[in-house]
Symmetry: D2
Subunit: 406 residues, 4 copies
């Protein structure tokens, strides 16, 4: 018997209307805590500032941690949805509301069906995934002293695949990432007297263009690497040359070698371009860091097998290496447990297939972080709940031996 | 007998402590109005929003308009002065406080000495010079229906010349200027998936570098031209590729031909660079426009002669063409009157001479709009008052015929 | 019994001393033809201008084509070898001399051991691989009307892997490539009057930097793509701004989608950058094109198995996708036959391992096309001969049925 | 009586058909020497390799040196003239053939009219003006030990002003110039493996774009400065990343301060951009240097007065500062004599006026060094001869005292 999804859909719309920034997810956390308590979980709140964990002990067996992240993004929503964000400049543009709603639904379902499985279930609602500090904050706040150390960490990320599709990529699956803030120091002055200044905007522009050569020329073509400048800010008035400019970079790689090579090249280029301008040494600040997310190979295959059995083979895809990043891996590494983290499709399937046929996927199917990102509610939510339940049950067999042998 | 400058110096420090942005100069305007009234002027307030005009009718003769501008800049002061700005992020970095204090001092002096001259004196305190709308706003508000149309417009700008020096450059003296706001439209997305986006930051950087070729390659080396990008803003988060980027440009030229050539080149480059990115046509907004400031040749020479007679030849310099811009010319053009606008030195003379000898003027003498711009109070203020009085008296002779023949 | 390699080593040194450009390989072709004839082959010369083919009919069985390419590169050798190139500005910098010497050795060996195998052997010496026209020229000259159509096409490329190592990558193995010549049209003039010109060198530089964004921003990070500007030429004198500039591009991709996306982006950028300069539309000439080289999956695995059996597993590696390109695939496509093309290591093994341990492979082990590229003669040549013989014998079993079933 | 210009026009066409590069002007020099001898001059040949000097002593008086330069340029002519260059890749694109023909004509005229003046006339035909070594070479070869030291040096340059117009700019008139050759060192390799290389073409492109910021941002807008990259060469094949790239720069300025500032900026940028690429320090070679050409102020005014008297005021213009460079000044400096060097218009006047009215001068009137540069033969040559004669006669009065007082 499948639970009626209506209430979860309503919950989802409500979450979508009320996005909250990293470490400020108090409303979302409160909802999650209430629901977990209502479903019979022991609930801990305020772990890592706004994190919430529910524990359901259900006899001997494995301990499975299901994780959802809660934070939204500083993006101005432009979806035209009737349940669009009500907060100016904030949006669930990365789909964490799907993660939260799915995990609440799955936690309910698993609680209701507890006679069918055995073990311990941990439902974890993490803050601040986007800014990369949430998982670490929960660990530093003593997470694994407060709840059992899991035998496996499971989770999912909604993305621009057809709604209903799921799948985990074995091995390195999400990129390692660094967030880097750079401030270059020129010398300001009147816009009409550039010769008395060192123009930090020209310097910043030269850096942006030179950074393009890292991926284009310095990383082997076979390697996966990204250097994005997502933020540039300088000046207040057209006719004043400012003193400084700031650049916000995001770096991705799937191996430590490539990551180091990129970082070295950024430092070399930024420093040298400042020298080319006759400017002082810039300041490079390493703001956040995500490790490479590595799915356990056997665990991923086992999960994909379970998905195939539950949803049919046509619904299971291998998303390959995803250039996005995730800090869920920290929860597994700290536990010494395998990680299985899969992709959950959220795109309207007919539109997706039409765009795929036309070769216009990138144009017509909005991806995460876009102001147009809008997963279809169904079958996305139902499949998101089912995937969490199915994956969890793979480890939570009442016959423990059988589950180990997979 | 020279008036004791102490009260004016105090007034100056007070103005410097309380900078106000364009069209918000209510405190400054109030002070000016009070002082004019106290000195016996008929005062009109709120012309062009915050503009103030005082009229002193003193018998038959020429009508002379003395002009000071009042607005400050969004610059964070970094002078270390004990009378530094008390307003975060605002500063009299262009020295308009010197202009205001000098004109108040000169208006006083001329009122006190009215038995020595004849004619009509207009002391005009203009808002919003920096943003280029103040003079136009006063004219559109009916300035010359409310006060007599002047026979000459006089004014001064403090700058990084030795304090005590003054001088007007005959002919084109300050550049024509355009302030241009450009918005480029990319397509945003996740920082890890650049291939799904059109990166507006890379586009903006390419535009900034390409714009350098206008002055370097498209304008004749003998011409005076400036294309400054004083402002660039895009993005909110390092790992989100934004949808748009905005650039704020300031353009200067001394002839209409060159100005048109530059504008054409900007439009050509901005449009083509967007095409190179596969981006839509950018939006180019012409925010403000200053005409070339042209000093009346005979009037400038006559004023310089009067300065030489009053202050000695060593104090009078020809500043040459200044690449900054000014909207004072609009007040003269609208009146059909000649304009004489001179430079007033404000730099500490020993420091200036040492820097000049070392060839480090650009480095060691802060120029207008710098957070370090700090005219020495004396002899700057005394000379600023004297220059206004001397120039005005050149037109306000009691013997009208003699003054006409100069 | 293994043939003494000395004569082949001498032959190799002789070939290395006498590099010949594409379609000018008359000396090399003559040597190959003489050797083939001496070994008992029927020899055809002048196929595709300078191509040579030897056919050895040895009873019923498969027809196997072994291919070597002959042309050298316009590179000034800087190896310091005592057998370095004697031709100014020309060098066997891509190791085709290794291919030729190995194929001569293998043809000899297979002729000497003809009692051990059955079938037909074709030894093909192809011109002009580097310029991409050689295989096509031989086909257009009626190759497969003059010699039997092969059942399999085999060949090898020496590269910076440890000498002695071999291995074929199943599936797409070498990139598809385009060679593109671009001419931009400015307007020349005196170097001191840039405003009268359209500077084609500034335009070319802007194109070079903008092209970097294709790989960095427009191709998915997971895809393999290269856009190299290998040649730029403009101007004759420092103080003359020239009329034109020419750029020579080389493009690589492993899928047609990516190749088309890159070509589209190049056309878009080149055209728009010309527009940004106010220059006429540039000329884009597609000079050469290599398809993606796709190794037959079963054939590659079978060949690798044979290598493992013959040389030990430690000598067989999977080189992965190679971003270089090869036109050998055309010979297989035209024959409707599977292709197996493997990498042959040529680097001094101790040096290679030391560099690998130090992470300085790119710096310390010269790659193909470098003026320092210098394969060690042994064991490279011996292994090159053995690999060709081993692979050929896999198809040329006397027991035909067994060989078919692999 | 004015000499019939036909023979000089024929001579001009012949010179135009036979351009010769710097220091190779043997045919031109031979013609000049023959003509001077025929006119009665004492002739010295081979001064500074290919230089020719004729001396005509005509009683007491001033010594006047008239100078023409002889060398052509490596430009492929594209004028369509029936007397176009017959030498591939060479052209009198700077009009030195006009200078030579005019001086031959003037030397004839002055010899024929020697009864009308007194003094010593030196007709000097200089090699290698374009490459900047010719004047220096003649001086180092003992010019002023072989001929009298002149009291004044006179000369002219044809340019895109209306034919018939002449005029000398008093004071700094032609820019000082440096010719600079830069070699950047990357690390070559295969075009498909950029990560193993340091790409010198990307580096060179980054330098070219960064150099644009010198004139755009580092030199005061009021100053005259040029940084031209007239030459860029790298690579031989599209798919080989070369080891090096070379850039040829030409720099102009009217003051030593600006020249030094530019040179410093070039060195800073080139060095830093190499560092940004991780490349070794580039090599910067200062190939040639021209000083600022300074016309004697009184001499220029006197010459312009004589032109006005001879040709009418409408034919005399002030060309202003010319951003081109000339080494004629060295001949005056070495003699301690004043220099007067004027512009001679060569453009078809109706076409010039139409283009001026349309604002398309830069587009429609080819300037020096353009492959389309084609002065109209008349009135250019007649005016060129007359101008030399008129200017020379200003100093060569029979009444010496009067001529001194001008």
């Amino acid at each position: 018997m499948t639970e009626v999804p209506q209430p979860i859909a309503e919950l989802y719309r409500d979450l979508h209307r009320h996005p909250e920034l990293a470490f400020q997810e108090t409303r979302t956390a409160g909802i999650a805590a209430d629901r977990l308590r209502a479903a019979g979980y022991d609930v801990l709140e305020g772990i890592g500032r706004t994190g919430v964990v529910g524990v359901l002990r259900n006899g001997d067996g494995k301990t499975v941690l299901l994780r959802a992240d809660m934070d939204a993004l500083p993006v101005e929503e432009d979806t035209g949805l009737d349940y669009a964000s009500t907060v100016d400049g904030l949006m669930h543009a990365c789909g964490h509301d799907v993660h939260v709603a799915s995990l609440i639904g799955a936690a309910d379902r698993l609680a209701q069906t507890r006679n069918e499985w055995a073990g311990t279930l941990i439902a974890l609602f993490q803050p601040a995934e986007e800014s990369g500090g949430g998982a670490q904050a929960m660990l530093e706040d003593g997470l694994y002293e407060k709840v059992p150390v899991p035998d496996v960490v499971l989770g999912q990320h909604v993305g621009p695949a057809p709604a209903g599709a799921v799948g985990a990529h074995p091995g390195p699956a999400f990129a390692g990432a660094n967030s880097i803030d750079i401030t270059v120091y020129g010398r300001g002055g009147h816009g009409s007297r550039p010769e008395t200044t060192i123009d930090p905007i020209v310097l910043a522009a030269a850096i942006v263009l030179r950074l393009q050569t890292i991926v284009a020329r310095e990383v082997a073509p076979q390697e996966t690497a990204v250097v994005t400048v997502g933020r540039i800010v300088a000046g207040t008035k057209n006719n004043i040359i400012p003193d400084t400019a700031t650049l916000g970079l995001s770096v991705r790689a799937f191996t430590e070698d490539v990551r180091v090579r990129i970082i070295d090249a950024i430092e070399r280029i930024v420093s040298a371009e400042a020298a080319a301008s006759g400017a002082p040494e810039p300041r490079i600040h390493y703001a956040e860091s995500f490790p490479v997310l590595v799915n356990d190979v056997r665990g991923a295959e086992r999960t994909n097998d379970a998905f195939r059995a539950a949803f049919g083979g046509a619904s299971v895809l291998d998303p390959g290496e995803v250039s996005g990043s995730e800090d869920v891996g920290l929860l597994a590494i700290a536990a010494g447990a395998p990680l299985v983290y899969w992709i959950l499709g959220g795109a309207d399937t007919p539109s997706y297939l039409a765009a795929a046929a036309a070769g216009t996927l990138d144009r017509d199917v909005p991806s995460n972080h876009s102001p147009h990102f809008a997963p279809v509610i169904e079958p996305t939510l139902t499949r998101g709940i089912e995937a969490l339940v199915t994956a969890a049950r793979t480890w939570l067999s009442r016959d423990r031996e059988r589950s180990i042998q997979g």
